[in-house]
């Protein structure tokens, strides 16, 4: 994260129950930063979709896990970083869903990542120190 802009960092347990409070906290903070509704939406979507993905597929053991979320607003740009310690997963390489299929035939997870890819201006992925790090950029 670039220093200088306003930042919010949140660490949440990798559980379904943690998602809602985290997205609400992020939206409340972003609303103070006066970001666009679309950026606010994207932040919630990123948190929900990525944490859900982690819970469903990411953890190879039954231990407690955490997900780190950082938001940074600077110069009309929202940067979102989501770091999890799940098994390696690069969302950028996930196959795009076949959008001509009826929804019930589409693979689970694909739609959320598709929305992220479509709504974000830039996505980058890095596997480092046993963690998945996804960075999302949204210009406002």
């Amino acid at each position: 994260m670039t220093p200088g802009g306003a930042t919010l960092t949140v660490q949440i347990p990798g559980t379904v129950e943690a998602i809602r409070p985290a997205t609400e906290q992020a939206e409340a903070w972003l609303s103070e930063q006066q970001v666009s509704f679309e950026a606010m939406y994207l932040a919630s979507l990123a948190i929900e979709e990525l944490v859900t993905n982690c819970i469903k597929y990411g953890y190879a053991d039954a231990n407690d896990h955490v997900v780190d979320i950082a938001l940074c607003v600077e110069d009309g740009v929202l940067r979102i970083e989501v770091i999890d310690d799940g098994r390696p997963f690069n969302p950028l390489e996930a196959p795009a869903p076949d959008l001509s299929l009826p929804i019930e035939e589409r693979p689970i997870g694909g739609l959320g990542l598709h929305l992220l890819r479509e709504l974000a201006d830039d996505l980058s992925y890095e596997r480092r120190d046993g963690t998945n790090r996804l960075r999302i950029v949204k210009r406002m």
């Binding site: 809602r20 997205t23 609400e24 103070e32 509704f37 929305l115």
Partner: protein, 752 residues
């Protein structure tokens, strides 16, 4: 998420509220499963849904599939722009029935539910399953020379939405374009024309563009309303279209003078699909009907059917096999079947390949009327800017009316505002309303702000957003003012009241505005961290501000001092302060009260009726921020915009007045009135400002810090240099004021 289950006209209605995320999706699934209903057509009210994730989408689609399997489906109403965008990006719009309002949704669901069981019939080599729709009505509209006195001429520039499903002669784009009119087929989802010259290829407009690009119609026949029957045609060896339509006419309504057909078919031959629209009539019966039925004789390229009836229309080949199974919603079927990738070419009805499977919507028009007569008449009075594309926006906003007269309300920075008097289809005058037209992005922000901050809080002023419409880069809003004095309401800006009413009346309007209308915002402050310098920077809305200060007042942002000859004093240069001090303090936060604030409250976005009811509009900047923002924003309006320095002497008196205003040490301390000039508006400003500061003090409870108020005031003091309507002296006055505020901030923050 809240889910309420109710019933409207026998249709189950799910009203959703809040975040439709994974947690809510689980609740939704449970509620939907528990809802015991015979009905298979449900309406879902999305108006209060603020967020929709992929898990929410899956739940909606799962329910849609379940209902579809039972022959029904969901009708979604009132989606926010963001939710719509998410469904669009997910390519799901085509799989869902989406309508503007809950009332529409209930109507669509009710109509779908009232279809009778299918009757089977054989027409030549084909089987037809006919389901009649009870209580449906439709109209045949014709467009052509002489169909309207006010809009007479060679062609009509209208939108695909106004036209409905139609065939005829016309061109895409505004009339007057170079292209010659050719054969035309149009639906609300797409339009196509084929020029008359040999070798011409079909031109299309599809999807969103079809709402924006007008069509010039020379003549056209259009179907509107609801179909009387839905037919599934099936013939493995192929059904000839003309024979099938002739057979359906005899089977469904043999005594009708005219029937309309819309066909979506899977066909034999090298093009796998077909869309067709046709009007068939019985010349003998038509002659016994009203004069308007003579128009049928004028339809181009008529085909004689075996029964002696006549048929006119046109078709478009499709390069992909359209989905036919269970199609009942025409708009949805067209959205998925007719895209830029699938639309082939325009062909005559006689050239259509035989259909193996088809769905036919059969219309039994009860009336033939001129299409132009239904077009909303838009009259604009009072001068001001008017663009031709705004006609379309107003027609969309007042689709329920026959005529609307707009009177310009002067003022408005980004948008134009009009008072609207509209008459419904029966000529009854409706409640007065206000129309605002501006750039699409500003308007979209206002719609979102309305959902988040206004409709749920500010009810007591009775302002309701009735609708919004987009046309290219422009968008418009229609506000209604409820519960007031009916059609005779006379609306004026608070600006006019401030200028012309006795002072006690004006103060009482201020009191009503802040302590009653907007109280639900300011009376619920939150105590939290705010970044005042960043939040109150005027450069966000006025990025050219520093350049304007230099060019109009000759004040450079590079010199730290400002020579205030009006006071004979050296003051901090406010523009230096803005350029250099604001960024340095952008990261500083303090604990302070925040509340929802209007963001640009001024005398020209509050309307007053003759009974002193107030109506606040223009919410594109509304959001939670420093609780005193709105009070502090009005102060510069009263000082710089409502007074008139005519000479340097006047200016001097005003700056002295300003210095006294800035001499207080607390907001609840009435500022001394020091003014020797002759402008009566200055005493008025003083009284108003005293009141505003008292309210601001009340909103901040026990706080004594003046800096948040001064910074909020500066945010709207600086931009005066950019206002075109202000004189140089007024701008100079604002600059002196800004310098005095900066001095006070530096003193209070211990930096001077």
């Amino acid at each position: 998420m809240d889910i309420a289950v109710s019933s409207g006209a026998g249709v189950p209605v799910l009203t959703l509220g809040g975040r439709f995320d994974g947690t809510a999706a689980a609740v939704f699934d449970r509620e939907a499963a528990a809802l015991e209903s015979e009905a298979v057509h449900w309406a879902v009210d999305f108006s209060q849904v603020t967020y929709l994730s992929s898990l929410g989408i899956r739940s909606v689609m799962a329910l849609e599939q379940r209902l579809k399997a039972r022959g029904g489906g969901l009708v979604l109403a009132d989606l926010s722009p963001m939710v719509r965008r998410v469904l669009h990006v997910s390519r799901l719009e085509g799989f869902l029935t989406i309508v503007p309002t809950l009332a529409d949704a209930i109507e669509v669901a009710r109509t779908s539910a009232s279809m009778s069981p299918a009757a089977e019939l054989t027409i030549g080599p084909c089987r037809a399953r006919i389901r009649r729709v009870a209580g449906s009505e439709s109209t045949l509209e014709w467009w052509g020379p002489g169909s309207s006195d006010s809009r007479a001429g060679a062609s009509f520039g209208i939108s695909t939405g106004d036209l409905g499903v139609a065939f005829g002669v016309g061109t895409l784009g505004e009339a007057g374009d170079a292209s010659l009119p050719g054969r035309l087929i149009s639906t609300p989802q797409f339009s196509a024309t084929l020029g008359a010259e040999s070798g011409a290829i079909t031109d299309f407009i599809v999807g969103d563009a079809s709402r924006v690009v007008p069509i010039s119609v020379a003549t056209a026949w259009a179907l509107s309303g609801a179909p009387a029957a839905l037919v599934e045609l099936n013939g493995p060896s192929g059904c000839a279209l003309l024979d099938a339509l002739d057979g359906l006419y005899a089977a469904i309504e043999p005594s009708a003078a005219v029937l309309g057909f819309i066909v979506l078919a899977q066909t034999q031959g090298h093009q796998p699909g077909l869309f067709a629209v046709g009007i068939a009539f019985d010349p003998e019966t038509a002659r016994t009907r009203a004069d308007s039925y003579r128009q049928l004789e004028a339809m181009p390229d008529q085909i004689a059917l075996p029964s002696g009836r006549r048929l006119a229309g046109g078709a478009i080949t499709l390069q992909a096999r359209p989905a036919i199974d269970g199609a009942s919603d025409l708009a949805g079927a067209l959205r998925s079947a007719a895209t830029l990738a699938t639309l082939g070419g325009l062909v005559a009805l006689t050239e259509c390949a035989p259909a193996t499977n088809a769905v036919v919507w059969v219309y039994a028009p009860t009336e033939i009327r001129s299409g132009a007569a239904k077009l909303l008449q838009v009259n604009v009075e009072g001068g001001g800017e008017w663009r031709p594309e705004w006609d379309g926006i107003v027609r969309h906003l007042y689709a329920d009316c026959r005529s609307v007269t707009l009177t310009t309300l002067p003022g408005g920075f980004m948008s134009s505002t009009f008072k609207a008097v509209a008459y419904d289809q029966d000529g009854r005058r409706t409640l007065p309303s206000v129309v605002k037209i501006g750039p699409a992005d500003v308007t979209r922000r206002e719609v979102e702000a309305n959902r988040h901050y206004i409709s749920r809080f500010i009810l007591n002023n009775g302002t309701t957003l009735l609708g919004d419409a987009e046309h290219g880069e422009w968008a418009g809003l229609r506000y209604n003012f409820l519960g007031v004095n009916g059609p005779d309401s006379r609306l004026t800006w608070l600006y006019d009241q401030y200028l012309h009413r006795p002072l006690p009346d004006v103060l009482s309007l201020f009191e009503q505005l802040f302590t009653r209308v907007l109280k639900p915002w300011y009376a619920q402050p939150k105590w939290e961290q705010v970044f005042l310098f960043r939040d109150h920077s005027p450069l966000r809305l006025f990025p050219e501000l520093l350049a304007a200060a230099e060019s109009t007042l000759g004040l450079s942002a590079e010199s730290p001092e400002f020579e205030c000859r009006e006071l004979g004093a050296r003051l901090p240069n406010p523009f230096y302060f803005l350029k250099h001090e604001y960024p340095r303090h952008a990261g500083e936060s303090r604990l302070w009260y925040t509340s929802v604030c209007h963001g640009d409250l001024n005398l020209r976005n509050v309307l007053v009726d003759e009974r002193d009811n107030l109506y606040v509009i223009d919410f594109s900047e509304t959001r939670p921020r420093n609780v005193v923002s709105d009070f502090a924003r009005l102060e510069p309006v009263l000082k710089f915009e409502m007074t008139r320095p005519e000479s340097d002497d006047d200016l001097h008196h005003l700056v002295v007045f300003e210095e006294a205003l800035m001499s207080v040490t607390a907001l609840d301390q009435p500022p001394p009135f020091r003014y020797d000039g002759g402008d009566p508006m200055v005493a008025r400003a003083h009284a108003g400002i005293t009141l505003l500061r008292r309210y601001a003090d009340r909103a901040t409870l026990f706080e004594t810090d003046l800096v948040p108020y001064w910074l909020a005031m500066l945010e709207w003091t600086y931009p005066a240099v950019c206002y075109r309507q202000l004189t140089l002296r007024q701008k100079r006055y604002a600059a002196c004021s800004a310098a005095l505020i900066c001095r006070s901030i530096l003193q209070l923050e211990g930096r001077a």
